[in-house]
């Protein structure tokens, strides 16, 4: 635990929120707060990661998250390399571990990894000498998204504990939902999940959430409405009969939103399907929608994660 005494952050990697304790989460959020201010200043650049190499390894297409990580690394002074693996090595038959070993030989300091399979980032972290940040693995976790959501809520509401948060939509496939459930529960918020039974993972209540299939009941009196993207690309069969039926029962519109607290915030991890899970008038409601703020918080949170993890690293390269 000497590390945590030194840096305030006891983890070598950021693979998930599950298992993280409140002080570690608060540490990252506090650090991220300072970066929010820095990012709003004219001079946005720091040099704490100067000389470090950050590789963004994305096995699944992503624009927002990879851009956010790239910007975060650059603002801290790191050399950032983006690799979209879907279009290179994997198509040539290279395995995940081969790719990891190859990259490891180039002595990166931080690997930011997104992969379509749950657990792939864990596997990779066991094979490399650098810090690994999970930028989303399958339906498992997306820790920086949960952290940026928490930062957004905390800055708006001053606290996380006691907030009633409804996470709505495709819970079954959502890594965002899982990471948020872990984080919000750890920090003392109360989490509800809302969706049709076909998009609800089994025994989800064991994670400490209230399950609602009726969105109107689920939204009653909540402080935060967190919408999820209905991931069309993940639909192998019809989990929902049609988009119009989905919107009818689970789309967030003014009428359903009116059941939440009058000042309830609306969040969405993006990209939004307007008219599928969220009505445009709601998404663009400047008084309640914090969707663009989430994007801003994303960069700050990722800077905090990069900063916290690189403080751990030895100043000499790890042996291969």
């Amino acid at each position: 635990m000497s590390d945590s005494a030194d840096t305030g952050f006891p983890h070598r990697h950021l693979l998930g929120i599950e298992g993280m304790l409140p002080p570690a989460i608060s540490f990252l959020l506090d650090l991220a707060d300072t970066y929010v201010e820095q990012n709003r200043a004219v001079d946005k650049k720091k040099s704490s990661l100067r000389g470090r190499t950050q590789v963004n390894l994305f096995f699944e297409p992503s624009t927002r998250t990879s851009t956010s990580f790239e910007l975060a690394g650059k603002r801290l002074g790191a050399d950032v390399l983006n690799m979209a693996v879907a279009r290179s090595s994997v198509s040539k038959g290279e395995t995940l571990i081969d790719t990891a070993m190859t990259l490891n030989a180039m002595h990166p300091d931080v690997l930011v990894v997104r992969h379509q399979d749950s657990g792939a980032v864990h596997l990779l972290s066991q094979k490399v000498g650098c810090a690994v940040i999970n930028a989303g693995d399958g339906s498992h976790e997306h820790p920086t998204q949960a952290l940026l959501d928490a930062l957004t809520i905390r800055r708006r509401r001053g606290r996380l504990d006691g907030q009633v948060v409804a996470i709505c939509g495709d819970i079954l496939h959502s890594r965002v939902a899982r990471s948020n459930i872990h984080l919000l529960n750890t920090m003392g918020a109360c989490v509800r999940v809302i969706g049709p039974p076909t998009l609800m993972p089994r025994n989800i209540e064991e994670l400490g959430v209230e399950v609602h299939h009726d969105m109107r009941k689920g939204l009653a009196g909540v402080d935060i409405v967190m919408m999820l993207r209905l991931q069309m690309e993940r639909m192998q069969g019809a989990y929902v009969p049609s988009l119009r039926e989905y919107f009818h029962f689970y789309g967030l519109d003014q009428e359903k939103l009116s059941l939440a607290k009058p000042d309830a915030l609306i969040m969405h991890p993006g990209p939004m399907n307007r008219g599928v899970e969220i009505d445009s008038t709601v998404a663009d409601d400047i008084n309640r929608s914090v969707i663009r703020e989430q994007v801003e918080m994303g960069v700050a949170v990722r800077m905090a994660c990069l900063d916290a993890l690189t403080r751990h690293l030895p100043n000499v390269g790890a042996p291969l």
Binding site: T198, G237, P241
Partner: protein
């Protein structure tokens, strides 16, 4: 004998049904007495009602000491609208239903196009409203186009008026699709009704697989094709907590599966049709295509097991399984002929054999066609004799013998396996919304 376009005009109309044996399966009432209707509702009933005479301004119907019961609810009937109007229309099906004492017809979605869209539910309801003598409520498809792969818009279909979900004469064969459909259906609390027959096992089969099919040289459908689908579905019910119903059980093995599921407290129910407790596979002997039904007629042991299961309540409902077929569809070699039998006009009389030959009380037989389907489908004001309930009634003489005369049948298609056979128990009058829609005396 069309229902008036505006039933409100009849609102204050009072009709007294006197000298009736009142039978209410929901409460077990079985007594001589009278019943009063106001407009489309039952206003009062009982043994002493009108004992002091009928006030003026009340129409009187003398039931002649015969039975007066809630109108029958048939949970499983094919009406060919839209797409197969030459086989049956709402006008012809409802005339047949009225003659059979049926006041509510739950129609199947395997029309063309299938009832898998809210707009088609609305179309069917409108057509029925304009053309049907009896109440019609549609079931909607479990899967789009009955394709067995994609779930239908169950929520929007329920809002449009669908009372249950089924793919009609097709099984939902994929366990994955069935799981999702069952799971999704829990949102709306409606039954998912399975045609329990594994299509890959039953393919090309024309009758029950056994010694009769062997002798006749016809491809058989084994009992396993039915029982295994129900076994699988019971597991899925356990997983999803859905309300599941087997449309028609034909075999003893299936009943064992259902008994065990009920014992475990699962929401598993089932129906059967009169053919399965009145006929067996020997009826196929001379290749009579009117006996080609789906599921197929089984052995005598199976038939007796069905009788027992109706008696002990394992089988919840009796349905007509009305499946009209035009002459050409049946006038073919047995293997090529279409499945299905007309059943609306004979349902009650054949069901009464359970009373006459197997010792069931009249109320218990009627419950399978009134209170039980009303409960399963959530039709709270029907299938019951109670003040405030809908005035949907049947007057029948359970002892009156008659012979099935196909020329006198009201349905468009005459494919009954009971052609020329004597039956006991005849419908004398049928009332829907307080209005007479069938009167045997009027013919």
């Amino acid at each position: 004998m069309k229902r008036p376009a505006n039933p409100g005009a009849e609102k204050g109309r009072l009709v007294a049904y006197l000298n009736a044996r009142l039978l209410d399966p929901a409460t077990g009432l079985d007594t001589m007495g009278a019943l009063l209707t106001t407009g489309d509702q039952i206003a009062d009933l009982g043994p002493s009602l009108f004992s002091g005479g009928v006030p003026s301004g009340v129409e009187v119907v003398d039931c002649g000491g015969h039975c007066l019961a809630p109108g029958l609810i048939d949970m499983h009937a094919f009406v060919g609208e839209p797409g197969a109007e030459h086989k049956e229309s709402f006008a012809s099906a409802s005339a047949a239903a009225a003659a059979g004492g049926i006041t509510t017809l739950i129609c199947l979605p395997n029309t063309d196009p299938a009832i898998d869209e809210p707009a088609i539910v609305e179309y069917v309801e409108r057509r029925a409203r304009e053309n049907s003598l009896v109440r019609v409520q549609p079931m909607a498809a479990v899967t789009k186009g009955l394709n067995g792969t994609e779930m239908s818009e169950m929520g929007l279909l329920v809002e449009a008026g669908a009372v249950a979900f089924t793919d009609g004469d097709r099984a939902v064969a994929s366990a994955r699709v069935m799981r999702r459909a069952l799971s999704y259906s829990t949102l709306f609390g409606k039954l998912v009704i399975q045609h329990a027959e594994d299509p890959s096992l039953a393919r090309d089969g024309a009758m029950n697989e056994g010694d009769v099919s062997t002798r006749l040289g016809l491809a058989g459908i084994p009992v396993a094709a039915e029982a295994m689908v129900v076994e699988r579905d019971v597991r899925l019910v356990e997983l999803t907590g859905a309300r599941y119903h087997v449309a028609q059980v034909s075999a003893a093995d299936t009943l064992e599966v259902i008994r065990a599921a009920k014992k475990r407290g699962l929401s598993v129910t089932c129906g059967t049709a009169p053919v399965y407790f009145s006929l067996n596979e020997n009826a196929v002997n001379d290749y009579r295509t009117f006996t080609k039904v789906s599921p197929p007629l089984r052995t005598e042991d199976d038939r007796l097991a069905i009788v027992e299961a109706v008696k002990d309540g394992t089988i919840d409902v009796i349905v007509s399984a009305h499946m009209p077929q035009d002459v050409e569809a049946k006038r073919r070699p047995f293997a090529e002929a279409a499945f299905g039998a007309a059943g609306l006009e004979t349902m009650l009389a054949v069901a009464l054999t359970l009373h006459h030959s197997h010792g069931m009380r009249l109320n218990d037989v009627l419950a399978r066609m009134t209170a039980a389907p009303a409960k399963l489908l959530g039709l709270s004001s029907r299938g019951v004799l109670r003040a405030g309930a809908k005035a949907d009634l049947v007057v029948f003489d359970p002892e009156k013998p008659w012979r099935v005369d196909v020329d006198a049948m009201r349905g468009k298609s005459k494919n009954t396996p009971y052609e020329g056979l004597p039956l006991t128990g005849k419908v004398l009058m049928t009332v829907v919304d307080g209005l007479k829609v069938f009167d045997a005396k009027a013919g």
